[in-house]
Chain length 441, copies 2
Amino acid sequence: MADALRIGIAGLGTVGASLVRILTERRETLATTCGRPIKVVAVTARDRAKDRGIALADDIWFADAGTLAAQAEMDVFVELMGGAGDPAYSAVKTALARGIHVVTANKALLAAHGIELAGIAEEHGALLNYEAAVAGGIPVIKALRESMTGNTIARVYGIMNGTCNYILTKMEKEGLSFEACLKEAQRLGYAEADPAFDIEGNDTAHKLSILTSLAFGTAIAADDIYLEGITNISIEDIQAASDLGYRIKLLGVAQRTDSGGIEQRVHPTMVPFDSVIAQVDGVTNAVAIESDILGELLMVGPGAGGNATASAVLGDIADIAKSRPGAQHVPAFGRPVAALIPYTRAQIQSHEGGYFIRLKVIDRAGVFASVASRMAENGISLESIMQHSKHTQETGKPQTIILVTHATAEHSVRDAVAAIKGEGYLVGEPQVIRIERPKDY
Amino acid sequence: MADALRIGIAGLGTVGASLVRILTERRETLATTCGRPIKVVAVTARDRAKDRGIALADDIWFADAGTLAAQAEMDVFVELMGGAGDPAYSAVKTALARGIHVVTANKALLAAHGIELAGIAEEHGALLNYEAAVAGGIPVIKALRESMTGNTIARVYGIMNGTCNYILTKMEKEGLSFEACLKEAQRLGYAEADPAFDIEGNDTAHKLSILTSLAFGTAIAADDIYLEGITNISIEDIQAASDLGYRIKLLGVAQRTDSGGIEQRVHPTMVPFDSVIAQVDGVTNAVAIESDILGELLMVGPGAGGNATASAVLGDIADIAKSRPGAQHVPAFGRPVAALIPYTRAQIQSHEGGYFIRLKVIDRAGVFASVASRMAENGISLESIMQHSKHTQETGKPQTIILVTHATAEHSVRDAVAAIKGEGYLVGEPQVIRIERPKDY
């Protein structure tokens, strides 16, 4: 049997501890499958004294990630600290510059510095593997980077944040408010004490930016994404969507547009109830890839959690173990850095699926006609317009009007909504939700 | 740039022609992604004169697969002829024995000789890649063999035959008979003139046997699978299932049982309407893998077709191209052949989801009570028992009774049904369909 693959791990939180436990408990099976043993030779973590339920020899501890990355005699550096900046950033750079392979679950780091890191990896003949960074246990990086080699990708989209999907699912199934469901998510550990990063869509945007680069061969542009979170989705929207045969999901979507640019967007989206992705509930993630040769591929699985993430990290390590040292060269973002093309942002143009618009209006004659006229003036063809909500049909109280448009341009919808706002009969802000029609499987 | 990867292709049907076209049209992109050009240096096919819409130089033609496998100067032998026996079998053996990597889409060959071929590959340092052999474009082999390394698999199951899924979907959506839908499938090219291999479940069984080996580390046992096709599924079953909130799918299922054996079975299965897999319609395939670390992973995509299959073959070729020659060693069935454990067949034991039983009985007092008693005598707890079908409620005509059981042992159901048959009031054969409850995503 070949020499052991020596790994160093920086970060021993849920994922790191889970990884060490699996590497220990399944030592023999892994050695058989990988053709060589995998050995943890170096670790570091903020709190060395903490009881993690795992045995780690004293002599493998390093003072910090930087020292470990610079000094440990290892074949693979596993970065599980998280965060776009230091210590993760410098430690990964240091390891790669030594020609040491890096496995990371750090989406923020890759979104911010992925291409730079890929360049260093390339230059020093190291691999940069990051399956765990997007959609946890779902092997979407492998699918895009390896399985779909040669395919031209048209669109990649998915449910990539378990917190948001949990909240939206719970709102629908139990008729509870956004706030109540967020609290429950926090209680269950599905949401952070400060949930902004998840519910505002930033987490999804980070993951999407990585998929965009892999799918379209472009440089990463994580800051250049249209972003709309789920905080203003009300139970009324969920119920109206349900009445119309849709569910609301927070989707990250990247697609090539006719202009040659890439449209990257994260926003609540209505998907038809009988589409596969509409059935993905709770903290589960799903990613769909539409390509010209393979066709449409959808993957559904756990998007987070110590074990699922550790499984993805382990898969990345195993890929390296199965290669003879230094023998494989899979470019980090699917092609050499020099061959990546610049990212050109495309504005959101139109939605084949149309738009859902919910307006609260004062109860006054002619409002219905006015709304319809403003839509028509902007060239928007309506699939339906109706008065909605059982609770507000008393005369004199505000009424809810729901519109569903046919495919139309984004700017037309914005112009029409602005015109309606100018009419003075709206109560509160109008709600606009894009409708997406996933491929019918 | 490294030397070109030289490939030889045996078989230029839909998949082979599609592959050559893609390799030609995307030559430059592939060279960039793979770090080296991919060059077709040898081909063979039954009919050399046939117009395939692709240009192939005269001097790369070989007389037959055996000659090509034995003599071509190549790095990869791509076998796209199909069939468990010769010429595919001998040609693949010849290539592997020369240390040449093999990529194949041939499920029948692997089901029959996979382990022997894996042994030859191992001995000569060659790779045996076969992503296209199971579920077409869905990267399930990669997921099991690479991504899920270190996971213990509990169950793998899926819709792996597009013909059957097309027929079942059409029966439900359009209320047509099995025969009518089969004819339509044949007209559209989804079913062969002799459809037995698909509709009797053999094709699914071949694919399942490969997944079983990968999932459980056992030798392949394709002939040792419980097999039931879809030919006796009637429109009445589909409608009764629909009334109860289920859809009927032909599933291949492999799972570890408490006895330590592996249960492999292919049969029509009722799945709850709101499960993700129930929404997989038409010729689309889906494979789910339940494991202890990653959790449940479901993949949905095209299971057949020239392009989707060619995409999977191309992914396998690209994996080899991205390694330096001879540098990667991924065992064909996830672990070295010597480490594979013998396959022990487990009998079907019980179904957590219970059973659906449809009986046509003569209209006679006491039949209902008799049926219920025979079930009770065999320890079967019923979820429901009801008289069904709007068309047969006239007195004197045969009546339909539908039973749904709670989780129960397979042999109890068989005994109860045998007892009911002995009572003399049945008209025709009883229908028994297993119910499966996929993980709730």
